[in-house]
């Protein structure tokens, strides 16, 4: 009885374990599988099934007797030990199943059984067999048809007899358990699908990837990543700055900085003014100037100025962290790139992009691989000849010279326009046309749009591999955009200085005005109530911070507009014309001259990066910028996805974008640094306006930290802080940090080295062996080669040793 119980228990545990089972009995199963396979080949199917069952039961019996000898404890330990190896989910499942099974076991032991125990055990073993068969079916070297038939039969068998193993209450419980297991597995599968479906735009991007290859998809992945970052920036500014000020701060119209001045009141709601971000838009939470310098607002005692400052710093710090973290993660993924040696092998075995799912793109890829082979062969021939190298070099130098000329020209044009706009500003903007007022933005957008095209044309001179060409192109556009952006910032700086001088005069005037007001009230009638002046009438300073914010918002808007209009005209309109004029045109528009446009990866990536740079730069002075950017990214995700699928054709030379992600990230990091530079410079060096913004009345913006430390923290804390900020402590700390960075860099380099050697050494060794074998007769440089070879081997050994030690 006990033995049987044991056996039953084992059987039950096997059934419950299902998946877990497989490993335990693998050797036996393999044996049996072999036997069965041999038989299967000989016999007909119908007869085979019966016999198979018998043999199975027999063999199972033998194994069972073997197994019976083991104690229950060891068995359980085994099970547990193995379950540890699997992932946690399944372990959990396993555990729960075991528990249930124990309960069932307890229930069964007291009940009588109608089926004879031998039969029952046979049946159980047969069912187990079937299950194992189902699981191992995938690895069997059978034809698919046979597999399918076997699978169906086994499943039917299991379905039929599985329920018969238990009885009464236990049977129901067992059926329930089996059902639940199946449901759970299905749920897990569905959940996985759901998780994939939850990644935003995943399907869209996959579709694009299948049509256009991974280089275009990498742009969209980058866009999605950027969207995520901006969502967080938006959450920070919106939740901690804009909403508290709007809800708990003083309402609109209560103080001068929150009121539209009297002179502008008439036109403050005009669309033209609002479109320029003046009027009511300027005097709202969207811009720096609206915020009050009150230390704590509302019943929460929310420290508004502190929060404003910390959010400004926090967004930048967060961005740094995220970019660097992503870079580090990507760096681990990218292998050791080596495009130069084994050129043909690389081409042969790795040129296909397996993500392509569109016949047209596949055709293009096929053609491009063929041409790349042809080109590589030609290149090889030419490198053997190497007489053309001078021409190539000359062309490359020429191309760079042309690009430099172009950059200088565009820089000068922007400089000229900015100077002119300053002149206009001095004259008064009202006297000038719309074109003249928006000249700077227009010229910047147009240059940013057209110069890359010119670079692209020039780069055909250079004859680089498309991946290299893309990087050159990116670098050039980067330089162009950077030049444009910095010219713009320099112009802004000039304007800030102008405003600050204006502010000084106004400040003086205000004191005079206040004094006169005071005097008049005093002289007229001392008992009369003090005159209340409507906040709209109070004279006020120019508030350079809001001006900076407005400029950035305008720039972003005009940039977005240019992007969308280019998209609509350059891509959509062109595609429509090409498509429908082709019916009645004298040449083939689709295959010939205008054709459809290709998706411009480099331009779009850089547009995105610089847009982000402007957000980082301007977000401190215009808290609405992240919100605007989220909106923009959201729209451009849909618009560009649509445009790329609707009006673009796959690139003629489709190439894989592996490793380009980190290139984008590196550029983003550079831009992040370059854009925080001016922002931090203004924050640190220029005193805030005296009558607007959260830091009004302070000498510097960061004084808010000092103030908080003094008034909100206990005295000892500020004391500790003052000690900690003592240069005597800060300098050693910085030194320590530098040393730590140095240490980690060295450690990283050392850990990287063995890997490098593993890649390089066999290769170099082989090459040198080839060389030695080819130059067998001439013994001139043989000694040197040999020594280098042995040297290489020695280093290889060494690196193995170090690797082992590590």
């Amino acid at each position: 009885k006990k033995k049987r119980g044991n056996g039953r228990r084992k059987g039950a545990s096997k059934e419950a374990g299902e998946g877990e089972e497989e490993m335990q009995v693998r050797p036996e199963k393999r044996e049996r599988g072999k036997r069965r396979r041999a038989k299967n080949d000989q016999e007909a199917k119908g007869r085979e099934r019966d016999e198979e069952e018998q043999t199975k039961i027999k063999s199972a019996k033998t194994t069972k007797t073997r197994k019976k000898e083991k104690s229950r404890k060891t068995e359980e330990e085994e099970g547990e030990g193995e379950s540890e190896e699997r992932n946690t989910k399944r372990k959990k499942k396993h555990g729960s199943a075991k528990k249930e099974e124990k309960e069932e076991d307890g229930g069964k032991q007291v009940r009588p059984e109608s089926l004879s125990p031998e039969e029952l055990e046979k049946l159980k073993e047969a069912v187990d067999e079937r299950k194992k068969l189902i699981q191992g079916l995938r690895g069997k070297p059978w034809p698919m048809k046979k597999k399918l038939v076997t699978l169906r039969e086994s499943q039917e068998f299991v379905e039929k007899y599985e329920g018969a193993l238990g009885k009464g209450k236990g049977r129901k419980l067992y059926a329930y358990k089996v059902m639940m297991t199946k449901k759970w597995m299905k749920f897990q599968r569905d959940f996985e699908n759901f998780k994939t479906a939850c990644i935003p735009w995943e399907m869209k991007i996959k579709e694009i990837e299948s049509h256009f290859g991974s280089s275009v998809a990498s742009y969209f992945i980058f866009l999605r990543w950027m969207y995520g970052i901006n969502m967080i920036l938006f959450g920070l500014t919106f939740g901690l700055v804009m909403v508290p000020e709007a809800l708990m701060g003083r309402p609109y119209g209560s103080i001068p900085r929150k009121t539209v001045p009297r002179a502008e009141e008439a036109s403050a709601m005009d669309f033209a003014v609002l479109w320029d971000w003046g009027g009511y838009a300027q005097y709202s939470v969207l811009f720096y100037g609206y915020y009050n310098s009150q230390r704590a607002i509302g019943w929460l005692k929310f420290r508004m100025p502190l929060s404003y400052f910390l959010v400004g710093v926090g967004t930048v710090a967060y961005s740094y962290m995220v970019v660097i973290r992503t870079m580090a993660r990507n760096a681990n993924e990218s292998g050791v790139g080596d495009d130069n040696s084994f050129n043909f092998s690389w081409k042969m075995f790795t040129s296909w992009d397996y993500l392509i799912g569109n016949p047209e793109t596949a055709d293009n890829k096929f053609a491009s691989i063929t041409t790349s082979f042809k080109e590589a062969i030609l290149e090889e021939q030419e490198s053997r000849k190497d007489d053309n190298i001078h021409l190539t070099r000359f062309l490359r130098v020429l191309a760079n010279f042309l690009v430099l000329c172009c950059l200088a020209g565009s820089g000068y044009l922007i400089y000229f326009v900015v100077r002119r706009s300053q002149k206009f500003a001095l004259d008064g903007l009202e006297n000038h046309t719309w074109w003249e007022r928006n000249e700077v933005n227009m010229v910047m957008s147009l240059l940013g749009m057209f110069c890359p095209m010119l670079f692209d044309v020039i780069s055909t001179l250079e004859n680089y591999h498309p991946r290299v060409a893309l990087q050159w192109q990116l670098g050039r556009i980067f330089a162009l955009f950077l030049g444009n952006l910095y010219t713009f910032i320099i112009a802004l700086m000039d304007e800030i200085n102008l405003k600050r001088e204006e502010e000084k005069i106004i400040k003086f005037n205000i004191t005079m005005w206040e004094a006169s007001l005071y005097n008049s009230t005093v002289s007229e009638n001392s008992t009369a109530p003090p005159v209340t002046i409507h906040p709209a009438d109070v004279p006020r300073g120019p508030c350079w911070e809001t001006m900076v914010g407005q400029e950035f918002v305008r720039l972003i808007i005009s940039d977005t507009m240019t992007t969308y209009i280019t998209l609509l005209i350059g891509d959509f309109l062109r595609a429509v014309l090409v498509r429908f004029l082709n019916y009645c045109w004298c040449w083939d528009l689709e295959a010939g001259f205008p054709s459809y446009s290709e998706f411009d990866v480099s331009g779009n990536v850089l547009g995105l990066i610089f847009n982000q740079g402007m957000i980082w730069m301007g977000a401190f002075y215009a808290p609405c910028l992240p919100a605007l950017n989220v909106l923009r990214l959201h729209v451009s995700m849909y618009l560009q996805c649509w445009a790329v699928m609707c009006c673009n054709v796959p690139q003629e030379r489709v190439f894989k974008a592996s490793g380009s992600n980190n290139f984008y990230m590196a550029m983003l990091l550079v831009i992040l640094f370059l854009s925080t530079l001016p922002a931090i410079y203004t924050i640190v060096t220029i005193p805030p306006s005296f009558d607007c913004g959260p830091f009004s009345g302070k000498k510097r913006m960061f004084d808010v930290i000092h103030e908080t430390l003094e008034s909100d923290f206990p005295a000892w804390f500020s004391k500790v802080f003052s000690y900690a900020s003592n240069p005597g402590l800060v300098l050693p700390f910085i030194l320590l940090m530098v040393l730590a960075i140095y240490y980690f860099t060295l450690a990283w380099i050392h850990s990287q080295k063995p890997l490098c050697f593993l890649f390089v050494c066999p290769k170099r060794g082989k090459q040198e062996e080839e060389q030695t074998s080819s130059t067998e007769g001439t013994n001139g440089s043989r000694g040197g080669q040999k020594s280098s070879l042995t040297g290489c081997r020695a280093t290889k050994q060494q690196c193995f040793i170090t690797g082992g030690r590590e």
Binding site: C451, M453, D588
Partner: protein, 262 residues
């Protein structure tokens, strides 16, 4: 005074202009050579372009030598003026196809001034016959002269002066043709598709008949390409090359092998 766009904004369009000029330079060159120069010379000499070409060939080529005539043509077309012959590069492909096929009955649509006719006739095996169709009377006269100059007689090359859509239905009745082994199309790009359909309908194409069509990408014959894609009657491929006597304009030559209805 109308509102002026500021000069700086106009200057910002300069890169676009440069880009367009550089990118489409071959098209501008082609426009200049094929149209402007032609009009100018027409006015100055009072002769047609084809007559001028003939004069040049008369003075620069050896009579009876097709190769030298072709060379003279190539020189004139690339150095002096532009005529859209098949050109030397695509001509080589054509030669190869003819060598492989060695057809006995060849139909050429669009003789123009006989360059391709000479080229095909040169590559034909003994006893083969070439029917060349030209619509324009004056061109045909010049082509006749050039073909005879190259040394091909009436038995080998027969020039038919008629529009192709009139000639094709009468090929069987008037010229006693049973089957066409090779068809070369280089006439009006718009007539590629209807002429091909007419050929299919006439029953002159047999299994293995080859049809070669020039300039399917530039100026291009999209309807023709669509038809061959859809009909399923052909095994086809496009030889990609550049436009004759020009480096940067991409063009293609379609090679079709008639498979018949399966």
């Amino acid at each position: 005074i109308p509102e002026m766009v500021s000069p700086a904004i106009a200057l910002a369009f300069l890169p676009l202009l440069l880009t367009l000029i550089i990118r489409y330079r071959y098209y501008f060159v082609l426009f200049y050579r094929a149209i402007l120069v032609r009009i100018w010379k027409d006015c100055v000499t009072g002769l047609t372009r084809e007559e001028r070409a003939y004069q040049y060939i008369l003075t620069h080529a050896t009579p009876g030598d097709p190769d030298s005539i072709l060379d003279a043509f190539d020189v004139w077309c690339s150095k002096v003026e532009f005529i859209s012959n098949i050109g030397p590069k695509k001509g080589k492909i054509l030669d190869r196809l003819l060598m492989e096929q060695s057809p006995l009955t060849v139909l050429e649509l669009g003789t123009h001034c006989g360059y391709s006719t000479v080229r095909i006739a040169r590559a034909l095996p003994l006893g083969a016959r070439l029917y060349s169709v030209e619509m324009d009377q004056r061109n045909a006269a010049i082509a006749e002269k050039i073909i005879r100059l190259a040394g091909f007689d009436d038995d080998m090359v027969e020039l038919i002066v008629n529009p192709s859509d009139e000639v094709i239905p009468r090929l069987r009745s008037d010229y006693g043709l049973e089957r066409l082994d090779f068809v070369f199309m280089d006439h009006w790009k718009k007539s590629y598709c209807p002429d091909l359909q007419m050929l299919e309908g006439s029953g002159l194409l047999g299994k293995g008949s080859m049809i070669v069509a020039d300039n399917v990408l530039f100026p291009g014959a999209p309807k023709f390409l669509r038809h061959i894609r859809k009909s399923g009657l052909y095994e086809w491929k496009i030889h990609r090359a550049t436009l004759e006597y020009s480096k940067g304009i991409r063009d293609g030559m379609a090679e079709l092998v008639y498979q018949g209805i399966k």
